[in-house]
Symmetry: C2
Subunit: 406 residues, 2 copies
């Protein structure tokens, strides 16, 4: 009698070479031996994706997106076939499938397709036959049978979607770290692993710079109510469980602190204080597919105001061009920028029911002599933009102030 289905997802670092693939095979078999049906989702081996992209850019400056998906999807196909072989050679039964083969139907937005439907019949049949099922992550097929890929973090999406459809007990995300920490352990020595997080907290942490899981896959898990267990493929210790908010979580006011050093700040000076101006600015920026993060506008005193906002550092050049353009059109002043910034944030479900959290954070920064350039808050997070070179000090000060190291 099966104890239920567990979906396990192994990222590129967990299958970067054949000895690591064997390690994964052992873990998968161990889970099966505990009495679970196991469905495994794998990413491409280590740097395969980069190597394939390099080939594509050698033959074409702007490769067709349909052909890119045809090309890139081979990476996961290779790793799932190899993992199936490795499981076989340890004496267990396994079968590998591409996304198309397990009926992952997506729209035809190549390189960033959305899953429309999953017909998991082949998976459930194979599980009934007692087999370990291994699925190539990151990919599907359009209704027209063209191969598609799901964009960044696509293998996580595959895992979460399969967990949902198969009604799995849990979706285990294997990575090279033990779980989610209260802060980056490389920056804060006494950072500790968080045992439980709500989807909302993890979503904010991911958006704010915690590298463990992409925001998109958390969103997906939250939407479908799939419990996630983030853990290391190199140890047997429990990692971080991410699930629906439970009452106990509210006792923990701040779950973690994160820093994002990959943003840049732009400021448009002397913006006329008229209705519709802000809309005009950010519509033009959105047209260029630039993600704007924080936006700050102070009250106008003179009929003109300054508007500041942050964008991913990689989009700065593009953002500057558009912003200067729009500034001229609306009769605003100079556009200034700063790439030496960092966004430091705290996240916690408990903030909703506790007051004074922002003040405590600002106190911590003040005591550490860190100047705050911008502030932005939401229901469960507070972010401050500070000078990039003071970011680590800020994180340490906040971590200590909230006693996150316990």
């Amino acid at each position: 009698m099966s104890k239920g289905i567990i979906v396990q997802k192994y990222g590129g670092t967990s299958v970067s070479d054949t000895s690591r693939i064997e390690n994964v095979a052992k873990r998968v078999i161990a889970t099966r031996k505990k009495g679970y049906d196991v469905v495994v989702v794998v990413s491409a081996l280590g740097d395969t994706t980069d190597k394939l992209l390099e080939l594509a850019h050698k033959v074409a400056h702007e490769p067709s997106r349909r052909e890119l998906d045809m090309l890139m999807s081979t990476g996961e196909q290779v790793s799932c076939a190899l993992l199936a072989m490795a499981v076989h050679s340890l004496g267990a039964d396994a079968i590998s499938f591409t996304g198309a083969q397990v009926g992952i139907v997506t729209d035809a937005s190549f390189t960033k397709a959305r899953i429309l439907d999953i017909n998991a019949k082949r998976i459930t049949c194979a599980l009934k036959d007692g087999r370990i099922v291994i699925v190539a992550g990151f990919q599907g097929a359009s209704p027209n049978q063209d191969i598609t890929t799901l964009g960044r973090g696509g293998s996580n999406l595959t895992a979460v979607a399969l967990a949902k459809v198969l009604r799995a007990k849990v979706c285990e995300m294997y990575t090279d770290v033990d779980g989610v920490y209260t802060a980056d352990p490389r920056v804060v020595k006494d950072a500790v692993k968080i045992d439980k997080l709500s989807y909302e907290e993890m979503f904010e942490l991911a958006s704010l710079g915690a590298q463990v899981l992409q925001a998109r896959s958390i969103e997906f898990a939250m939407k479908f109510g799939v419990p996630i267990h983030v853990r290391s493929s190199f140890s047997n210790r429990a990692g971080t469980i991410i699930s629906k908010e439970v009452k106990a979580m509210e006792d923990i006011v701040v779950s973690g602190v994160a820093a994002n050093k990959n943003e840049a700040k732009l400021t448009i000076c002397d913006v006329p204080d008229k209705p519709g101006i802000a809309a005009r600015i950010f519509k033009d920026i959105a047209k260029e597919a630039i993600n704007v993060d924080m936006i700050i506008q102070n009250v106008s005193r003179t009929g003109a105001t300054d508007i500041s906002f942050t964008v991913p550092a990689s989009d700065l050049t593009k953002a500057l061009r558009v912003t200067k353009d729009v500034s001229r059109k609306i009769g605003a002043g100079d556009v200034t920028f700063d790439r030496d910034i960092a966004k430091v944030s705290i996240v916690g479900i408990g903030m909703r029911s506790h007051s004074g959290i922002a003040a405590k954070m600002f106190e911590a920064l003040a005591a550490a002599g860190v100047n705050i350039e911008m502030i932005s808050t939401s229901e469960i997070k507070i972010s401050c933009v500070v000078a990039k070179k003071r970011a680590d000090a800020a994180v340490r000060a906040i971590h200590k102030k909230f006693n996150l190291g316990k």
Copy 2:
């Protein structure tokens, strides 16, 4: 108005790196510009197949054949996507497909599947849209949608089968040589390119050691009456046309001479001369999947005879074991072997209507002082086993005797 469909197949050496892929893209576009609809079949890039096999054997001693096909088929998928990108970046329209996507249905004999059916609707639709169609060679899918591969020379099979289904005017096989030669040009300096060959002649030449095309794809082309044009992807010169026998071909008595140095000879001494003994011997050998080539048995004088036969050199160890075993069981004598042999053969449709060809070949060998160890003949070929170190001399002597250099 299209002038008809041309199928072009490019082997691994023609697409071994990105600059060669660009070269192929140019050729493909040039053919399209001449007014033909073009369907391209590609092999995997250079040594991809070896690299993937190496990975498989690192994770499993005896990899599952289903998973091997899942793995190996990615090689051709990569090259067809890259070729499509290269065609795009030269401004022409192209679309790539896997074997499964173009409806190449095979049986489920993984690693050596047979094509059952081809539903070429996606190809004809894409051609109607004015696109160049690029198909991953070597692969198909079973009725169950499992990915299969067609075994050695599988991309040639894909090309020939598509040419048949699409009623193509010709199937062009691109390789790194100019065509089929009267003898190996590395051995015989005045060897010349053959302009036309019948399927039967090419089939024999391929079986006898000419490396240009595998016997299996010739057999297929012959069965379906698909004209083949073997030519170089590095020049624009016409190569060798292989087609149905036409009257003029009979005037050429001997088309070419080939040597195969990868065989070994075994001899079972003192075999009892009783009915059923030979059957017994070769049934046991066939059970081990060893391909026996020539078999020679002389008339018995003493109630016992010697039986000699040749096998691929790579099978010698296995063949020796089986043969010693069977020899003991049937009460025969010692088993001897010789790996220093070569099979030198002449092939020609014209032999059927000309006598004295064998005698002329033996004369040539005698004059060159080459001793003949075994002889085997068919309607359109004569093979002699000689010492391996005399094989090149034998080929040169025969080439000269029949005046093949013209």
